[in-house]
Subunit: 313 residues, 2 copies
């Protein structure tokens, strides 16, 4: 297997792109692939101040590496969720983010949930009234709140996450097999800023296979935390990933075709955009000031107030 | 495994419905299930004259059996495609239809393609300019033409086909993974009649699993032709069926949920109905008089004229 560009020994064969490349040409190709995704979806420009949510996993650290290489002004945001039960998941992933930022002289915001709110996500979830998937639901609610809070407070133009094509295809598959119109209408590489106070969001790795981000991290020697969150075991998005991997193995390029044809159909007006909940009426939460569709207090504030009342009672 | 209704020995366990039934109660349940589908989707009434396309396979003969039992006024239509190469597919399936109609004193229209148009479908496809999947494409085009021709000529109110839930889920899956908006907007248990000359179409088995129609045929002793069309081997709809069967085995009820949540989302306005090609402007074909979106001659007439010119030149 030879590199398509220079004919030296290839390190990766991407059947989905019918392309084999050596280490050097793979890195250049992948950086360019991400650059084209950013331009194609009008995600941001060199003048924008970017805030990237980093978890310590490969995708977000690889994205940070590429954005800095491409000359984008990007700070990081690490949220310590306090998940340190059977394995010290949060402490070890925090370490990876600190190291990467320090080594590359990058600025990293840090928000520590147990310190800021008094309970770790797993302990808070035990106090929550939600009975099913409560840890993952509370974690998502809390992260979305903190992302927008920090992005607004420090006036970032765009908030970025490291979701890759495998993530997007898996979420899309879950939304599709149940035909969840609201989520189908909303799922997008970019969510524009809203006048009600949501910062613009973008996913520059949405066209990158997970296998490609892994190869990039390995070749560039980026040290990342490899374990899945212990609460993710059994999640539907993971079983959808296994299924899509099986289909991809039979039909290389399936995930890409599925996701990109979805984006194309959407651009061509397949869904009524008014179905997306971003078009709901939002007003500021009376507690935290962030936009909410609730009459007074946002879901985040209400949930955490209930948790803390339950803890103290 | 006991029958839920009478506690005698069950012959079928339908995990998708969490229901086990004995032979007698399964037949009654299945007939009622189809009756409810007909009502739920406003397919037709006892006053309507129905034309059912029968192939000799289990689904269409089972549907005929149920419609007659329910008291619907239903004639059959068998199209002999002249597929008699390695196996005498057409002749054997014709035999099953004739026998069923004769035994039950039912009226069966018969259209013989080689006799009417001078060539069998496989021979005609060899003369066709279409290079890929040309046999299946020509067969579909020809059947749709004949269905509507006979339905119009004899003034039937509704044209029925035996498509079951496995067929519908498989087609939906193929349309979904490629996000074919026009086909998603069109796929439906019922297509209303159009003023341009399309007869109303309905699929009363669209909520019935293939396994259920097979069980019905076996229990009722309906003799049907079991082989797949020799040209269907390798078709995408078949490989989608295998995939959906795998998912169904892991998650009983998957196909039903996928298809029914699609219908629900559609009813709730997920797609813009103007995307469906039934809303295109149609005018009568100058040759056959059937509705066409072409300027003068419909695809059917144009294709067959080209084939016959090519044969005779």
């Amino acid at each position: 297997m030879r590199c398509r560009r220079c004919d030296s020994k290839a390190v990766i064969n991407m059947r989905q792109h019918k392309l084999s490349l050596c280490a050097e040409h793979f890195i250049a190709w992948f950086q360019d692939h991400v650059a084209r995704t950013i331009e194609r979806h009008h995600m941001f420009s060199k003048d924008d101040r970017l805030l990237l949510a980093v978890s310590g996993g490969k995708d977000s650290l690889v994205l940070w590496d590429i954005l800095i290489h491409l000359g984008y002004n990007t700070d990081g945001l690490y949220i310590n969720l306090g998940i340190n039960e059977e394995i010290s998941y949060s402490d070890q992933s925090a370490e990876k983010c600190f190291r990467y930022a320090e080594k590359n002289h990058l600025f990293l915001h840090q928000v520590n949930i147990p310190q800021k709110y008094g309970l770790s996500i797993p302990d808070a979830a035990k106090k929550s009234y939600r009975s099913k998937n409560r840890t993952c639901a509370l974690c998502g609610l809390t992260k979305r709140h903190v992302f927008n809070e920090i992005a607004t407070k420090y006036q970032y133009d765009v908030l970025l996450t490291g979701h890759n094509l495998d993530d997007e295809a898996s979420v899309l598959f879950g939304n599709t097999v149940n035909w969840l119109g609201k989520y189908l209408a909303r799922q997008s590489p970019v969510l524009e800023a809203s006048s009600s106070g949501f910062t613009k969001k973008a996913k520059p790795l949405c066209r990158a296979y997970e296998r490609e981000t892994t190869a990039y991290a390995i070749i560039k020697g980026i040290s990342y935390f490899e374990q899945e969150c212990p609460f993710a075991a059994g999640a539907t998005t993971l079983s959808n990933k296994v299924l899509l991997n099986d289909i991809e193995a039979e039909t290389p390029g399936f995930k890409q075709r599925f996701y990109l044809s979805f984006l194309k159909a959407k651009e061509e007006g397949l869904f009524d955009p008014s179905l997306s909940d971003r078009n709901t009426d939002f007003q500021p939460c009376s507690r935290c000031g962030q936009p909410t569709s609730n009459p007074e207090v946002c879901n985040f504030c209400r949930t955490w107030e209930n948790i803390l009342v339950s803890r103290d009672s």
